[in-house]
């Protein structure tokens, strides 16, 4: 029993630009595993993406929006007190928490909404977990005068209620999802079901480097601005490259966005998954660390599943990491050993959350707190002349309710 596909280990070097192939495969991973009703829409999207996005007119408008509307470039901040406290390597924070709407998600939604507009689609739908992608989609929809529906699990609606209010203020309809685990996975199921019905006039804005082709590559391309800026900033400021990059991984868009510009550089990269209540407890979201290969939400990737191919429940205190799948390119990067994937549990994330608040005056998102927690581990054991760059992917205002239950 069991499939015979085996990951290729270390046999190949990852080169930026080599993946995906024209049908959206990242080695074994990725692809387009969807019902026939959606296939023509994905083929249309792929064609539009390849034609419209490289166009200089599109790129100009996208860059202008990122600068004048979203507030890019975001700063790269040397966390002096945190670094001194750990007495190790220098920690730099890429401040995606300072971009408009408070998380990196806006980079992608502006890109996709712009593409939707050029394709003549006037309605947007999106799934959301922590609500940041929902808010960012609702924001882009308001900016372009588009109709917007956001699918969100009722469990997440409860723990991220501030973001629900924001989406409503922005004119979006928030559709509560009560099926399954009532979190991000089920919000995505429901968004796909809605899309199957409304596919002719509706653009589905996927929030991570997941889903069927071309989403994983498209979201990566819209997010790679994070790494492009970071690379330029760190070279200009310090004259050298960092020793290691660190980002949290749920679906993996902020990590891919930071990492991609550095793929051909000699440095380490670490993706931090959520260990929830502990890897041994099964209440975690460490898909790459503990999962196996399978197909969910339109692509092949590592998944948390049982031996019969049924998807298992994920858990994390951070709603944005609470997902049993991961973007297909991360699966390839894991197999090729280009990125190390580790995990941080709920308690360690909360501890990092508190530390960053008091030492740097920055309230990080619980998702990003996982990356901070790993940076604290790395900094303490690395020599003092090395540089660590952490993607501070979002701000933590949305998490005050849940954090207050623990502190």
């Amino acid at each position: 029993m069991g499939n015979k596909e085996k990951p290729i280990q270390n046999s190949k070097q990852f080169k930026a630009g080599e993946y995906p192939d024209s049908r959206g495969h990242f080695g074994l991973y990725g692809g387009r595993y969807v019902g026939e009703t959606l296939m023509p829409a994905l083929l249309e999207l792929d064609e539009a993406y390849n034609k419209i996005v490289p166009d200089p007119g599109f790129q100009d408008e996208f860059k202008r929006l990122l600068r004048n509307y979203a507030g890019r470039p975001t700063p790269l901040f040397y966390a002096k007190r945190l670094s001194e406290h750990l007495d190790g390597a220098f920690i730099y924070l890429k401040r995606e928490d300072l971009v408009h709407t408070g998380a990196h998600k806006i980079n992608n939604t502006l890109g996709q909404a712009l593409l939707a507009r050029r394709m003549g689609k006037k309605k947007l739908i999106a799934e959301t977990g922590a609500g940041q992608h929902g808010v960012a989609t609702a924001t882009a929809a308001a900016l372009f005068g588009m109709e917007c529906r956001i699918f969100m699990g009722t469990e997440d609606i409860q723990r991220q209620s501030a973001n629900v209010q924001r989406m409503k203020l922005l004119g979006a309809e928030v559709i509560p999802v009560t099926s399954g685990t009532m979190t991000l996975k089920d919000a995505m199921n429901e968004a796909m079901r809605f899309w199957v019905k409304a596919v002719r006039d509706t653009f589905y804005v996927i929030g991570s480097v997941a889903g069927p082709h071309p989403y994983p590559v498209m979201v990566r391309e819209f997010q790679r601005v994070i790494g492009n800026e970071t690379r330029e900033q760190i070279l200009r400021r310090t004259g050298g490259l960092p020793a290691v990059l660190i980002a949290c991984v749920g679906g993996g868009s902020n990590a891919m966005g930071l990492f991609y510009a550095f793929m051909d550089d000699p440095l380490e990269m670490v993706g931090v998954e959520a260990a929830g209540k502990g890897i041994k407890t099964k209440k975690h979201a460490a898909t790459l660390g503990e999962g196996s290969i399978g197909v969910l939400h339109g692509s092949k990737s590592y998944l948390l599943q049982d031996e019969n191919g049924q998807i298992q429940e994920a858990h994390s205190i951070a709603a944005g990491l609470d997902y049993p799948g991961v973007g297909p390119e991360h699966s390839l990067l894991k197999d090729l050993n280009r990125v190390q994937y580790v995990s941080i549990d709920d308690e360690q994330a909360l501890e990092a959350f508190k530390t960053l608040c008091v030492l740097e005056g920055i309230i990080p998102a619980l998702e990003s707190s996982h990356a901070i927690a790993w940076a604290m581990v790395e900094a303490a054991r690395r020599p003092q002349n090395e540089i660590i760059v952490v993607n501070l992917s979002g701000r933590g205002d949305k998490d005050l309710g849940i954090v207050s239950l623990y502190l």
């Binding site: 029993m1 069991g2 026939e36 009703t37 399954g180 199957v196 019905k197």
Partner: protein, 272 residues
Amino acid sequence: MINRIDKTFETLRQKKEKALVGFITAGDPNISDSFSIIKAMCKSGLDILELGVSFSDPTADGPVIQRSSARALKEGINLRAVLEITGRLREETSMPIILFSYYNPIYAYGAKAFYKDALAAGADGVLVVDLPPEESDEMTSQWSGNELALIRLVAPTTPLARMAQIAQSASGFIYLVSKTGVTGSDGLDTEDIKDKIKLLRSATRLPICVGFGISTADDVAAIASVADGVVIGSAFERLIEDNLDNPDLVSILANKVNEFKKATKVKDSVTL
């Protein structure tokens, strides 16, 4: 040797009837009742059985089949158990059995073992909802033969050129999805379906069965007058759900099959 699917359509043609194709989630409401229900349906006029393999995240299905899958999973159903049910049904009936699944359960089972075990159990075909022609080589390339029919979907959004491409790698019959949306949605536009069948007819000689949103005997009659077969799923599953504690559950389903079967015996069928 002519296979059971082709033979069924041939027999129906001679009798001037259309195929009644029934989808049932294997293991709903539990494995033993499910077996009794399916056996009774087979004896009450069903022509082809689509046996549903439950998946935890059925993104192509509406609420009725989502709930039926959840009930079956709670009873411990998995692909191995569905193949066991298939084997037991094969001892009772010569009706074609199509396994209806999402890809991940088959992927986890292993495509090679699946082909071998499905044939051994007596299955005649497979329909994998989320495995379009673009991705299906990875499954079929592991098959040791081509005795298992590969039923493919054609959607309302599928353009003509793509219909032809899909039909090329399909066998058994083509499943024409009547409308955009998930299974069990309301509203049927027979005129629109007629146009789609005409278009699809120009791309394939395979029988065409229409499904999604067909829930009454009138719907069945309307579709039967223009297609080679009618697929019913959610309407059966809804009946199961509404009669979970009813001791007459099995005969209720059998009667419904009987009613629908009558509606497939069309007097003035249009040949498109």
